[in-house]
Symmetry: C2
Subunit: 387 residues, 2 copies
């Protein structure tokens, strides 16, 4: 049923439960499903979501109808369930709408249906120093969509993965990043070379140790995924260190709720400047989503501006900031590993903080390449692979 | 004074008022300026912001010191103003810090200093249908940094500009966009071609009218600036229409505060999908900044998913959404103009909604090219040009 519409939408809506009956009320209909659930649908919602070819352009699958063009007192003159199990409505201007029961159930907004959808969302798996690092093979990721999907789900839910067997020719990183989508350019380029440089425009391009941080907190949207690919690593030192920023925020929330609150509320400036650019971004270190869950960490001490908050708040902010930094140094959270040539890290830059120990450039060459891909691209690729 | 530091920082901090005296208190010092203002600075803030070469790497201008390494009970053993007017502190571990008075005043966080900085921030100039469209000449923008700066400030503060005298060779748009910075790629490419196509993956690529919208509300970060460059426009119809989304939100806030509130609070899904991608973003239509000012509009009816909110909220959301759409159609807000070959629009995609009338491809060719540049890049370029 409704095969054409399903194909054009690139999504399928299996029949969870058949439509049993429909009752018309003042501003809505109430349908009862075969499994007993009752779902109200407002008239305006139904008219707005009419899938007919007059309302939706089939080639782009985008709406051409605009709900503002329907009258305020919109009412169906009739509502029934047809022989194919679809909900049919006749509108008083003569328009007719017909809804597939699978689609309707997938979009029902009674409390129970909404709670089910929320529960079905992907969950972050928090980790500490004892994480069993998810490791993937380059060849499989390049050739096998099922392996690719498994990797991307690990990136999404765990936020830290390693890939092995990657060619060490400069630029090879592009090939695997583009398995997801296009690369997000920044002022450091499309691919950036992490090497010690005399004229460094970031501490990343020195041999210094780098404390745990996210990349580009100086930008409104921090890059979603970061790749770091090892081409050469003959220098002593330079081990990679990771912590799960969500796990630390979670621990801070229970161990020092006032500090957690301060980092959610008080914006901090991050900045990066050189001869050609001057980036500044003001945002809190911990961002929550609409449901109060930790959604993002923004942190890089070496890119931070002077704190600018009221005299009363300043001690509270410092207490929280110092506590958070101290936690990033605690062994319970830290995973340390040296990256070898042909290996790469791929991690959630807005969750997993990364650091490196100082290295000694006199003992040998060290050359990593890096790039970014946004979270939108990761989630889109997962959805396409799951079709 | 302190010339080396000022040059390395790429910013200058003029001496607004000299330091008069300094008094040491339990957890802070209080300085009195020659103009009578008193600014407290906490010990921890001063130690954190020490600009010495041990604490900040002069090449990158980035901090290497981390405040978590200072003791909790950090105290200066002495504080004085030196012969050059700098604030000098001796710390009890032997470290010494010296602060330029211009820098210190620029970062003072007493209430008056903070209020001054806030008042000095750029303000949006709201506009309606009678906007005197800011128009700029391509050649001047390509050659004269002062003209470039003027243009970019208009984009920032007004959010809608036109550029004339642009070459009509395909790809010319890149040259002017790159006067700001790199172009932000999307799933529609680096440059996208706005033409009527048989296999359109967006209603933008049809000859339909497009209602007022922002581009890519399907992404977590909507592109900051949008460019639309006219190469050929022989078709009848297709006029460009713009409204200031901030002006509409502002009017809605005073004319129908409950609807304004609903659009700030209730997230809405935007989505775009084709054979290779499936983007979804859930966010409110109006976003406010930390001070409660309208900071962003996210709106495209043809990319919107079915509303998913509680049964109680649904009528409130529809009422607000319909009211907002109706306002975008009101003549008091709308500016309409046909774009001619060699002209381009450059506008704030997160503020200025754009639309086009339907055109008739049978009457002639119509070919626009478009691209995006992010707000971070605009603000950075302005700061660099203002140095």
């Amino acid at each position: 049923m409704n095969t054409a519409a399903v194909v054009a939408d690139f999504r399928t809506y299996p029949l969870i439960s058949a439509l049993g009956s429909v009752q018309t009320l003042a501003d809505r209909v109430a349908v009862e499903w075969a499994d007993g659930r009752i779902s109200p649908f407002h008239h305006v919602w139904l008219r707005d979501n009419c899938p007919c070819q007059q309302c939706v352009y089939s080639v782009t699958r985008e709406q051409v109808f605009e709900i503002v063009d329907a009258p305020d007192d919109l009412q169906p003159t009739a509502a029934h369930i047809d022989a194919e199990g679809c909900l049919c409505l006749d509108w008083h201007d003569g328009h007719r709408s017909r809804f597939d029961p699978g689609w309707l159930r997938a979009h029902a907004y009674d409390d129970q249906s909404r709670a089910e959808r929320l529960a079905g969302q992907p969950q972050s798996h928090l980790w500490r120093s004892d994480l069993q690092l998810p490791v993937f093979e380059y060849t499989a990721l390049m050739e096998d969509p099922a392996a690719l999907l498994q990797w991307l789900i690990a990136v999404r839910d765990i936020g830290l993965t390693q890939v092995r067997g990657v060619p060490t020719a400069p630029g090879s990183l592009k090939l695997i990043a583009q398995r997801i989508s296009f690369i997000r350019e920044s002022n450091f380029g499309v691919l950036f070379n992490v090497q010690s440089k005399a004229d460094a425009d970031s501490n990343a391009y020195t041999a210094f140790n780098l404390p745990l941080h996210t990349d580009l907190p100086t930008r409104e949207l921090q890059p979603g995924l970061q790749f770091l690919h090892c081409l050469v690593n003959d220098a002593e030192g330079g081990e990679s260190i990771f912590v799960d920023g969500f796990a630390i925020a979670d621990a801070l929330r229970s161990e020092d709720p006032a500090s957690f609150q301060a980092l959610c509320e008080i914006p901090v400036e991050f900045r990066n400047k050189d001869r050609h650019s001057d980036y500044r971004c003001l945002a809190p270190i911990i961002a929550l989503d609409a449901l109060g869950r930790v959604a993002e960490i923004r942190m890089a001490n070496f890119l931070r501006g002077a704190f600018d908050t009221s005299v009363e708040q300043m001690p509270r902010l410092y207490r929280a900031y110092r506590r958070f930094m101290a936690m990033t140094r605690e062994p319970r959270f830290r995973l340390m590993q040296r990256l070898n040539p042909g290996e790469l890290w791929c991690f959630d830059n807005r969750r997993t903080l990364h650091a490196r120990n100082a290295f000694d450039p006199a003992t040998g060459a060290r050359h990593f390449q890096g790039c970014y891909v946004d979270r939108d691209e990761l989630l889109s690729r997962i959805l396409v692979l799951q079709r």
